[in-house]
């Protein structure tokens, strides 16, 4: 099975002065290539830790992770991974364009230059081509996050990991970026793992929603979304959407 992201019985334990905390216990799921998985759960459910295990930032205490047949560290070295953080984490001394180019400058990024997307095309994709010479402090929060999405996509990653990327934005910006993300997903065909604590966002974006329970973080339920594949904002008012959001809320209440 090399055409899936496969997480098998992953557990993560952190030891600190106050003893051992179990961040994740026996988490398993599969995600086919090109899929969009929302990961939803209360704080403390380890959803960020799960993303960091996939990104090779946290080593699992046990269990297996296969990213299209590669281990996280192999995938990281092959530049299969793009990561979008909650705060855009742009380098303030670099212009928008220079920020997007960063992944091609460090590590062995230069060897990707041929297959990499052109930074200007990506800025076009996220609607910021006018702003390529601006510095991050000249941009709004939503624009910064678009730059960081362009930066994550510049190496043409097979998997895009997003850790509450729109959590700090106002609702209007967030809705607009949700639609843009869906468009980008369709245009690039990349596989996306999207962590959020917003029920409507998880439901609107994902093909499935992985619900995690807290203390320790574990899989509560994998919920397929029963929504038309062509999504637009008005969908959020539809009875189907409202009904399913209510179901997710019901499950989420048993997760804390």
């Amino acid at each position: 099975m090399t055409d899936v992201v496969s997480i098998g019985n992953v557990s993560v334990k952190f030891s600190s002065d106050r003893g051992e905390t179990e961040a994740l216990r026996d988490v398993s799921f599969d995600l086919p290539r090109g899929g969009f998985l929302s990961i939803l759960g209360p704080s403390g459910c380890g959803k960020s830790t799960l993303l960091r295990v996939v990104a090779d930032l946290v080593a699992p205490s046990s269990g297996s992770v296969s990213l299209f047949g590669r281990s996280p560290s192999e995938a990281r070295r092959a530049r299969d991974l793009g990561f979008v953080f909650q705060d855009a984490a742009l380098l303030p001394w670099r212009t928008v364009r220079e920020n997007v180019e960063l992944p091609l400058e460090v590590g062995d990024g230069a060897r990707l230059l041929e297959k990499a997307s052109k930074p200007e095309d990506l800025l076009d994709l996220v609607g910021l081509s006018q702003w390529h010479r601006a510095y991050p402090h000249e941009l709004s929060g939503g624009m910064r996050q678009r730059v960081s999405i362009a930066r994550a996509l510049v190496t043409g990653p097979k998997i895009l990991l997003m850790d509450e990327p729109f959590g700090a934005l106002d609702e209007i910006t967030r809705d607009r970026l949700n639609d843009e993300l869906l468009r980008i997903w369709k245009e690039t065909g990349t596989t996306i793992l999207f962590v959020t604590h917003s029920i409507p966002e998880a439901l609107y974006l994902g093909e499935r929603v992985l619900m995690l329970a807290a203390h320790p973080g574990r899989v509560r339920e994998m919920v397929p979304t029963r929504l038309p594949s062509a999504r637009e904002l008005s969908l959020r008012e539809s009875p189907d959407f409202v009904k399913q959001a209510g179901e997710l809320r019901g499950i989420l209440e048993t997760c804390g």
Binding site: D56, R76, Q86, A89, P92, W93, E105, G107, H137
Partner: protein, 252 residues
């Protein structure tokens, strides 16, 4: 007045007011010239003895600039070492913070005894007063990096060198310049103190000479020259800061 004009005119008016008060006080209270000279007398000396003052300002300026370069380059190198060798930092950084609170100028006589009467001890004193403030700021600037930016570099498989040159070094620049602006004026103080202990030329030597001879006009003129140099030096650093640090401070 518009904001820009205000910012220029008001301090100039304040300075003129202080000079006027000084002149009035000396004239009204008949303060003898060997205690406080009038500003006019200082101005006359400044122009009359211009050659003497410049001849003595040059060695002081050279000592402070050399000391500034030596002290700051060294502290930047040590800060880079600290950030990459945590054990060395844990061993020496607390010591550096303690040594920073020692009044370095009090060590001046020791350095003069060690390095003789020429330029070397003055340069070393100037370097020492620059070293510790810059070291402390630089260590902070190199380490206080946005943790998500560090994670990003790890995901990009960046080498330690790339993390240093593309992330830590830039991150430290605002901290570095804050220290350099203090170091610029501190290095002038260091050089002058060094000259007090033992020198035949330099602003420090001129100050001692003028004091012993109750030549207050020359004393005040020498101090004014040192002030002007110090302000110009600090302004140069501010200018470089504006050219090099164009982004807003704080993380984005």
């Amino acid at each position: 007045m518009k904001g820009d004009t205000r910012r220029r005119v008001l301090p100039a008016a304040a300075l003129a007011g202080i000079l006027l008060l000084w002149w009035l006080a000396v004239a009204l209270f008949r303060i003898p010239e060997y205690i406080i000279p009038s500003p006019l007398h200082v101005a006359r000396t400044l122009f009359g003895d211009f050659g003497t003052i410049v001849r003595n300002l040059v060695p002081t300026a050279v000592e402070s600039v050399l000391g500034f370069l030596l002290g700051n380059l060294l502290s930047i190198a040590v800060a880079a070492l600290f950030v990459h060798q945590r054990t060395i930092e844990e061993a020496f950084f607390p010591l550096a913070i303690i040594v920073r609170s020692i009044p370095i100028v009090a060590l001046a006589p020791i350095l003069v005894l060690l390095f003789g009467n020429d330029m070397a001890p003055k340069v070393i004193i100037a370097a020492l007063v620059c070293f510790f403030p810059t070291l402390v700021n630089m260590v902070r600037g190199l380490s206080d990096v946005n943790p998500q930016a560090l994670e990003l570099m790890k995901i990009l498989s960046a080498t330690k060198g790339e993390v240093f040159w593309k992330l830590r070094m830039y991150n430290s620049l605002p901290y570095l310049f804050a220290a350099l602006k203090i170091a610029a004026s501190a290095s002038v103080i260091g050089a002058i103190v060094g000259e007090w202990i033992g020198a035949t030329e330099g602003i420090g030597a001129l100050i001692i000479h003028a004091t012993y001879n109750f030549d207050t006009g020359l004393l005040y003129a020498a101090i004014t020259a040192a002030c002007v140099f110090s302000v110009l030096f600090t302004s140069l650093i501010s200018f470089l800061e504006r050219r090099l640090v164009k982004w807003a401070p704080g993380g984005v």
